[in-house]
């Protein structure tokens, strides 16, 4: 590893750790307040799984250049795995209330196994990816997502009405992972921590030898294989790796929701959590920029939340309010406009780094200033 790269890793992880610690302390002090407990903490949980979902899809879509339209299927696998494992432990009497080291161990076991099972299915999807690409692969992944949804609905122990049906009298909320509002604040550190570690792992993956190989496959598959890259191996690996983090996102989803239903993980639905919308987030942030995925997931969440609940919406003229009743309409137009005028997304392939970003920002502003000045000169000359 080069010395500058190493220094970058050390500085960035130190700063992130400090910010993380600050957040946790803030959460611990603010945690008893009503609005933090009821609004901010659930929002942070939702941001966490959206971030994970978007950045894990970016590995396949942005870095490998293969469109996957069934990404929420992996999330569904993760969510159901985590929920069912925790329910099984609860019924075996391993824990009663959601506290203590045993529950913590089970929580992390659930998260890890959700990721692993999703990764196993990722390998299954990756195998068709060896023979197919582009449009054909997109349709296979779409079909795979639908199959997962359909099969889970038909499982006797998961059921169409979420986990309430078929799993004795126990709904997820009371006994399994599903956190109430107090638990959401208590375990906020776990959710944020898991998200930070996962994004860091993905970042390291794309910067490593593996990531370079994957990007080479995206740019020119034939040239990559001629240079000795085993394209099949890397494709399956990336699919599995991406599915792993989608599974973890699913586990986080199972933690912060009171019930599960496959409708939340379908191809399209009314909310912002579906396979199509994850693609929107990745494209908006920039295909090939994890920073972009993280930022656009958060932006999209805030926008969606504000359109649905914000007080300022009531102050708008009636026509715009009418349009905002159908936020998906707005997002579709935004997506089309972005594709037309900035196909690279907000960030393109740019990645955030504490050492470089301030300098880059200064340069960006300087260049814009110069652009304005020269434009002014031209106008004066005319």
């Amino acid at each position: 590893m080069k010395k500058t790269v190493k220094r970058g890793y050390i500085v960035n992880s130190a700063v992130i750790a400090a910010v993380y610690a600050l957040c946790i302390v803030l959460a611990a002090t603010l945690g008893r307040e009503g609005s933090f407990k009821l609004i901010l903490a659930p929002s942070i949980w939702q941001c966490c799984y959206l971030i994970l979902l978007a950045s894990s899809l970016n590995l396949v879509l942005g870095f490998m250049g293969q469109l996957s339209l069934g990404h929420c299927g992996f999330m569904a696998i993760g969510a159901y795995t985590a929920a069912l494992i925790s329910l099984a432990f609860q019924r075996a009497g391993a824990y009663d209330d959601k506290s203590g080291p045993v529950f913590l161990a089970i929580l992390f076991l659930c998260i890890i196994s959700a990721g692993l099972l999703a990764a196993a299915f990722g390998v299954l999807v990756g195998i068709p990816a060896l023979r197919l690409k582009g449009d054909y692969l997109a349709i296979i992944t779409l079909g795979f997502g639908l199959i997962i949804e359909n099969v889970i609905n038909n499982l006797p122990f998961a059921g169409q009405n979420g986990l309430a049906e078929g799993s004795a009298a126990a709904s997820l909320y009371a006994t399994g992972l599903g956190f109430g509002s107090t638990d959401r604040v208590t375990y906020l550190w776990a959710g944020i921590g898991v998200t930070i570690i996962s994004v860091a792992l993905m970042f390291m993956f794309i910067r490593s030898k593996y990531g370079r190989a994957v990007r080479a496959i995206r740019d020119d598959e034939i040239a990559a294989s001629a240079s000795g890259i085993n394209t099949g191996y890397y494709k399956v690996l990336t699919f599995a790796f991406s599915a792993f983090f989608a599974g973890i996102a699913g586990a986080l989803y199972a933690c912060c929701n009171s019930s599960l239903s496959t409708a939340s993980f379908s191809f399209t639905n009314g909310s912002i959590l579906n396979s199509t919308f994850v693609v929107v987030m990745v494209v908006l942030g920039g295909m090939g920029s994890l920073t972009g995925s993280v930022v656009s997931a958060v932006i999209m969440f805030i926008l969606n939340y504000q359109i649905a609940n914000g007080a300022w919406v009531d102050a708008l003229p009636g026509f715009i309010q009418g349009v905002f009743t159908y936020p998906m309409l707005v997002y579709a137009v935004v997506l089309i406009v972005i594709i037309m005028f900035r196909p690279k997304g907000i960030f393109g392939t740019y990645e955030f780094s504490i050492l470089k970003t301030p300098g880059d920002l200064v340069r960006l502003f300087k260049r814009q200033g110069r652009g304005k000045k020269s434009a002014g000169k031209e106008a004066a000359a005319q």
């Binding site: 582009g134 349709i139 199959i147 693609v279 089309i336 037309m340 196909p343």
Partner: protein, 298 residues
Amino acid sequence: MGEFLQTLFVGLRLGSVYALIALGYTMVYGIVRLINFAHGDFIMVGGYTLIFTVPLMTAAGMPAWLAVVIAIAVCALVGVLVELIAYRPVRRKGTNMTALITAVAMSLFLENLAQAIPAIGPNPIIAGQFFASGGFRVAGVTLDYITTYTIVVSAVVMLLLYVFTQKTKMGRAMRCVSEDKSAAILMGISVNKTVLSTFAIGSGLSAIAALMYVAQYPKVYTTMGSLLGLKAFVAAVAGGIGIVPGAMLGGVVIGLVESFTTSYINSSLTDTFVFLILIIVLLIKPAGILGKNVGEKV
């Protein structure tokens, strides 16, 4: 035997509707190499046009199904507009991937635009009757009129389409553009005009499919085209996308798989089997049943 025949007829009926929709997918894909995800939503447009024009037709003393003529015109117009406003500018600048994402966005847009229109709204609308009920008995099973009409009409439409692509000047231009775009330009074919007419014809076909589908399941809602379109697309890919007879074959295969799964295995697992068939077909023949595997040139 009776149940088998009944299932077979249901499968053929479903298959004919899928084939009509799949034709639209396959023609557009053949000519611009783009999966038109919004195609399923053209069915929804057709369905709503039928709902609104059938009362006019009956008031004018004409049979209800004649409304399909207006539906075809509206669908063709929507198809042409989508191509002009969204697909063409993106295709000129972007890659295949950006075009595909635009198509997904367009589908989202149409579905939600329909919901935002006050006359349509988010709730399903129940359609009236298009054809006389009843039917005739064949070998111990009742073959109702709707099933017969569906199968016959789509067979005729497909035959016409086949003759059109093989014999007419415009049809030959379409095949030419899909084979080699730059050679087509050199031969004096206007590519843009050809692409537009392909979109118009493909979308018009989806209006006929909407008539047949709504006649059987009289409920129209904004997301009705979503799953229907996906299955039809599966049919087009399974048969070999870009090939007109492939879409017909694929449609019938998917329809039969669906109806036989429903009656002999489990009605709630039909989607799984439909997509499993697709995955199996693509793994064995990556270009579809009738498709030819073309090696990649460096």
